[in-house]
């Protein structure tokens, strides 16, 4: 509870300072800081959105992710290094620690050169896999840019991705095409924390340009199993985004025009997409917040959030949720055919109920449901466990005790019609005994008198 409160306060403080819901200090790691001019539009866009961008070389001596045990930056944007690693202050361990402390990371890769082994082993910890030789490039003979890659077919031209599933919100959709030059492909493991943002088309495959066609058993994945952009949200909702093509962020591609083999020449929407992607990666979108959780007996004037209920009590539970969209909190709306569910559990759920939206404020939606507590005493918890791709996790757990009937809460004997027979029997015995005693005491002994008169 205290933890939630701290998070809330953090969120509010952050909202005052910057646009992102979790702070504005952004560190960009470029191995060669000379190259930063290549991305000048990106820096300008980020700074315009309120980020406090500092660009450092990974070789820099002063570079430190933590200061006095606290994070020194809120977000990390890592450009692909050419050397083996990211330097002593950015080992995989540091990056994992950064995520464990709620820092967000956007990692860009490039198919131009081999990905460094340090990054590969970091991705392995997250269950994101690169090819064995770490230097593959995605090509597609149907969706390539005929203007810039007429020969190599390694500049993919793709539509912006729609929603992942019908019950997932789309954060990256829109009109226009993206140009993605020299993509380093990733494949995802089974982890539920991972989700693909942009998958390669079914006609795509990957190969190592220096080695030529690979043997069939060496092929890691093809088609839509290859990911161009993938996302990982840790259990504390820290975000890790992998962008396969660092070049797509360059100024050059922000303003380029592309032409597919079958289409006509169109300008790219890379700049808009970069905004969507960085906004999501740095928690400007898809951030959920629980404002208030209330539960009480359904009777009027009942105590709010009591710690103890009785079995078969009628209770009402409500949770207030807001969603952060770029610069403000708005009421959260469930996408499509998704449902927000409440569980009333002890070891296993006794109730699993859909929470219905009942009220909207300016910045939040109140979801609510009511139910009768189960006929089983114990320590139960109200649990809302809402974890969806691209939305930060909601895990609310409130422990309450469900007690048994107290001795004076049962219906009285005379209120139970079936008990009337027994009550009648009881009182008739008592009455009969009293009558017997009275008759016994007041009937005079007759025999004695008879004797006397005789």
């Amino acid at each position: 509870m205290r933890w939630c409160l701290a998070l809330l306060i953090c969120c509010f403080l952050a909202a005052v300072n910057a646009l992102s819901s979790s702070g504005s200090r952004l560190l960009a790691i470029l191995e060669d800081t000379e190259q930063k001019d290549l991305y000048s539009t990106l820096w300008a866009d980020l700074e315009a959105r309120g980020y406090d961008v500092s660009i450092e070389s990974s070789k820099s001596e002063q570079l430190a992710l933590f200061k006095l045990g606290e994070r020194a930056y809120d977000h990390l944007l890592i450009f692909p290094p050419k050397s083996k690693g990211l330097g002593p202050s950015l080992t995989p361990k540091h990056i994992v620690d950064f995520m464990n402390k709620d820092g967000n990371i956007l990692l860009a890769l490039s198919g131009k050169s081999a990905t460094s082994s340090a990054i590969s082993s970091l991705l392995l910890e997250l269950d994101i896999h690169l090819s064995n030789d770490r230097s593959q490039v995605v090509v597609d003979h149907f969706n390539y840019d005929t203007l810039s890659a007429a020969e190599k077919h390694d500049v993919l031209v793709l539509q912006r991705p729609g929603p992942l599933r019908s019950d997932v919100k789309a954060f990256f959709d829109g009109e226009g095409v993206l140009a993605l030059p020299r993509v380093a492909p990733q494949t995802l493991g089974d982890s539920a924390l991972l989700s693909p943002i942009l998958k390669a088309p079914a006609t795509a495959y990957s190969y190592n340009p220096k080695e030529g066609t690979p043997a069939p058993e060496d092929i890691l994945a093809t088609g839509s199993q290859l990911n161009i952009i993938s996302a990982m949200q840790a259990r504390n909702s820290a975000r890790f985004t992998v962008l396969g093509s660092v070049e797509s962020l360059e100024d050059k591609w922000f303003s380029a025009s592309v032409k597919t083999p079958s289409g006509k020449k169109t300008p790219t929407v890379n700049r808009e997409f970069a905004k969507q992607l960085t906004a999501w990666a740095f928690k400007e979108t898809g951030v959920l917040k629980v404002d208030k959780v209330e539960h009480r007996l359904i009777t009027e004037g009942a105590e709010l959030n009591p710690s103890i209920y009785r079995i078969k009590n009628e209770t009402i539970y409500s949770i207030e949720i807001s969603e952060y969209v770029y610069d403000k909190w708005v009421p959260f709306e469930l996408p499509g055919d998704d449902a927000l569910q409440l569980e009333f559990t002890m070891l296993s759920p006794f109730h699993r109920l859909n929470l219905e939206p009942v009220e909207r404020t300016d910045s939040s939606t109140v979801f609510s449901t009511q139910f009768v507590t189960p006929d089983q005493h114990g320590i139960f918890s109200f649990r809302v466990n809402y974890k969806r791709p691209f939305l930060t996790a909601i895990e609310e757990k409130l422990e309450v005790t469900n007690r048994h009937f107290a001795h004076d809460e049962y219906p009285r004997s005379w209120a139970i019609t079936g008990g009337w027979v027994w009550i009648a029997g009881l009182w008739s015995v008592i009455g009969g005994f009293l009558a017997f005693v009275v008759v016994w005491l007041y009937s005079a002994p007759v025999a004695d008198k008879l004797k006397k008169t005789q």
């Binding site: 392995l124 199993q225 103890i308 070891l347 005493h377 048994h404």
Partner: protein
Amino acid sequence: MAPSSLDVVLKGSSGRNTRGLLRVIILCTIAAAAVSSRLFSVIRFESIIHEFDPWFNFRATKYLIENGFYSFWDWFDDRTWHPLGRVTGGTLYPGLMVTSGVIYHILRLLTIPVDIRNICVMLAPGFSGLTALAMYLLTSEMSDSPSAGLLAAAFMGITPGYISRSVAGSYDNEAIAIFLLVFTFYLWIKAVKNGSIMWGALTALFYGYMVSAWGGYVFITNLIPLHVFVLLCMGRYSTRVYISYTTWYALGTLGSMQIPFVGFLPIRNSDHMSALGVFGLIQLVAFAEFIRGYLPGKQFQKLLTSMVLLTFGLGFGGLVLLSISGVIAPWSGRFYSLWDTGYAKIHIPIIASVSEHQPTAWPAFFFDLNFLIWLFPAGVFMCFQKLKDEHVFVVIYSVLASYFAGVMVRLMLTLTPIVCVAAALALSCILDNFLVASTPSTETKAKATTDDKSLRSTRNPVVGIYSWFSKSVVVASVTLYLLLFVAHCTWVTSNAYSSPSVVLASKLPDGSQFIIDDYREAYYWLRQNTPDNAKIMSWWDYGYQIGGMADRPTLVDNNTWNNTHIATVGKAMSSREEVSYPILRQHDVDYVLVVFGGLLGYSGDDLNKFLWMVRIAEGIWPDEVKERDYFTARGEYRVDEEATPAMKNSLMYKMSYHNFQSLFPAGQAMDRVRNTKLPKESPQLNTLEEAFTSENWIVRLYKVKDLDNLGRDHSNAVAFDKGLKRKRATKHKGPRVLRTE
């Protein structure tokens, strides 16, 4: 003039008064002795609640004091048996707590502010003083000799068999229950002797109090009907027996049913059926007596036999039918284990795992009762000589209690009172004969010789015992025995029964005392460093102490009502981490507590109880936990290099020895309890992290880790934190798994 002035005091009505006064003074002294001999632990350690169960009683008493009687009655305890909770108000015997609550409030009313803890600590000694008085009353009913009662009271006051359960701080149900037991029997004897409704009703009243105080009330419930039944069989039916028994049964049953925990048991449980049966029987016998007055003998005989056969048939058939249909509960497991000592070991390991449920060793009888144990048969024999109604009671009680005391160690407690009665009867008879008896006059001698009906041996005049010499020898030896008895009782009490077991004491080489206070150290750490509702998992032995001292919710405790839940904890302790961790998560466990004696040589630790955990878990999950896996191929229970994989990978083993090797030079780690050398490497714990280890390593606390933030296995996460590189799965085996969204 001295003899004459003494005569004034000792003879006539003032003599009676003097003796009465003396008796009162002696009884008060006995009560004071009984109380003071139980204070060893308070003087040596401090005013502290002992052992395990008393901690629950103490906690319940505090709840009663704070919340009043009605909330105590409806108490739902959400801090034990997480997440099931316990309907505590309805599943305990409230007599003990209510008694100390009443004492507390009376003292407050008298503006004597006494801490409730001190009342709880001193309750058992206080009631043992009362027990001595009740013992005097009971024994005085058995014998005409005034010394029998006083001797019995003195025995009861200091005999170790009773002291073992009633030293200061031993705040358990038995603390008041033994007094109630003895006093109820006294009232029952009184009722049978006088045939009075008042005494019968008083018996029922104290029986009700006893029911509210201890589960051992079943002993009374069966002993009194048995007494009546034997009297009936001996043809000793009388209206006295009828009145006292019916009064006791009707009122006592109603009274006992008022206790929520007992409820409808008296009419539904097999353990109570004998009382009901005898109640029916005595009605029939009374009716037969009534009929006999109106019918000629021959017809009456016929009627009687047919009636007996009919009622027996009907009653037996009805009982069988009700038992089969489930209206009458079948005999409980604890009951079966009273008849077959091997029963519990096979069917209910949880009962067998308690040391006080083990059969009694022979030396224990002498240890707990000293010379009373050989006076006991003599006393029973003397009861046979007189054999009035009350002596029949003593005989029955002795036979039953001797058997039960042989079956279970803890039932030595019920044997002790009757041993004191019988021994006092025997000893007082000896003393009276040898101290008081004067040489019989020739008249009585002549009478004795002419009486042909008596045994041949008694026909000759007895003269041997009247001599001054024989008198002094007997009296001296009895005095010696009594003095030895006192010395023995004091020694046993001081050495065996006065340790609080929460605080351990040992002697340093130089003879000074060394206090080992690890339990309280760990419990207070929990109390001060963990959130108020942090759930603690430990083996059930420590549940009450954690609840009482650390004030944290526990998964299982000493109220072993749910075998499955205990088996769950046993499974978590005895399985691999991968199996245990989901169990810990499911039960919201925050900390795990283990007791480890390997450093100090404290033998009562969890690894020595480990096989019981395995056995109890095996009872519920025979496929997943197997006792055989924890023994080596040669059938040894080992913890060293040659321990079985199941043993080495069990959570209990890992928690016990985690980091233990770092205390010793490489390869020299020694376990001082099991006297073995341990493996070089300390076991690796992935899902738990050490939170606290007490000074002498007796209590070790582990915090359960949260799920990994990045969704990895804990073993992988730990390996990553250590800087080990993860091996990449280079070659896929089998068909490739495609990811679908």
